[in-house]
Amino acid sequence: MTAAPVAAAAVRAAGISRAYGDRTVLHELDLEIHRGEFVALIGKSGCGKTTLLRALAGIDAVDGGTLRTPDVSTVVFQEHRLLPWWKVWRNVAIGLPRASARARAQSALEEVGLGTHADAWPVTLSGGEAQRVALARALVREPELLLLDEPFAALDALTRIRMHGLVRDLIARHRPAVLLVTHDVDEAILLADRVLTMREGRIAAAHPVDGTARTRGSAAFAALRTELLAELGVVEP
């Protein structure tokens, strides 16, 4: 808490806007993510969360406002987006300096538990394995900002639970700033330090998550879950 807020911010967006035609998707949005902070972003479909992530990734430009992001940021998408014609290790090593590429890819793969799959073709992997390779590809670059665009949405429930644990361990070790875009309120609470809800192109509310709320089944978890769902306009029977 002694560090100056300026130095601690990995992402700083001030009043950023984005419109497609006459439809405003981001509406003078402010967002700050600290170094090493895990922020989850939830919201209804079409609220602009993916647009925000794509702006932070530098894929799409913003129309107005100022946006500052770190030099090295990586994205894990909902689809693994592995090049099917390259073996697993080359997919991880893509774009790395040639000399150390293989060794760095191998150790990144070992970190996600796929050290023995370095020479496999991507089509031979299961959905969860492919997503772990995508995670290795993102982390091998030692990003200061890691953007996760619903990376677990296409996985089955059991694989998703295992992935949550893996992601938590990896992020504890690498300490990038993280923005996770998700539809899954439980996932947001379990992983994030701070859960943001988004509505009509703006951040509607911020909810810090403390330790006890991260235990599924605890009273704090249930309370936060109900609160977040209510904000998204969902009332459970």
């Binding site: 990734a57 530098g58 894929i59 990586t74 994205v75 998408f77 689809e79 987006r81 090049l83 099917p84 014609w85 390259w86 073996k87 893509i94 774009g95 023995t116 020479d119 496999a120 073709w121 991507p122 089509v123 031979t124 590809r137 670059r141």
Partner: protein, 280 residues
Amino acid sequence: MSAPVIAAEAPVVPPVATGRPAARRPRSTPYRAISWAVPVLLLVLWELLARAGAIATTVLPAPSTVLTTAWDLTRSGELPEHLLISLRRATAGLAIGATTGLVLGVVVGFSRLAEAFTDRTVQILRAIPFLAILPLVIVWFGVGEAGKVFLVALGTFFPLYLNTVLGIRQVDPKLLEMGRVIGLPKLQLVRAAILPGALPSILLGVRLSLTNAWLALVVAETVGAAAGIGFMATNAREFLQTDVIVLVIVLYALIGMITDLVARGLEHRLLAWHPNYVRR
């Protein structure tokens, strides 16, 4: 290339296979044997009917006669000479047509400006069945080599051009986006994502080009030539040598089969990653 994968997975596979109840696959039908037995039986039937005199020699000679003819013509050096001339024409035409098609296809695939300059014109020319310009080719080049090579080149150009452009344009935009997020330079993006992604389509173009090459050669050699296996057939027609005609037809089929085999081998090698070829 895929050997390590197989080696790594080999110890895992057998227990799974033996674990299955044997009843799931009763006695396997010998599909492969049947598929070969049918053409062999037809050949035998043909031979017997020809020998018994049920088919006149002038209509269709026995397979054994065709084989004897092939042997005689090979020993006299006539067949190898004509075959070599035909192969040389096909190779030269293919080299010119396929190279032009591939290069132009890559340029148009990458550049909208090049597309604007070239593509419409090529599409208009493509509407002409390339064999329809045969009379014009004879007027232009006479019965010399150039005309035949030109016709083969024309026939091989279009499939390769079209499939190269299509392949490049159909590369998954999500992969390109991933490449940009990682910060790949443009040239590396082409090498890593675009060309390999276009390769299946390009190889399909190669196969279609090979088919067209033989088609062009048959027509060009049958209509106006003084050498080549097409000429052999035309010449044999004058003397009702059906055995030579059938021999030439068989040769065309064999060459077609061999080139297709080569093209498929190429696909197997270059597309080892593809779901159709990868060995899990």
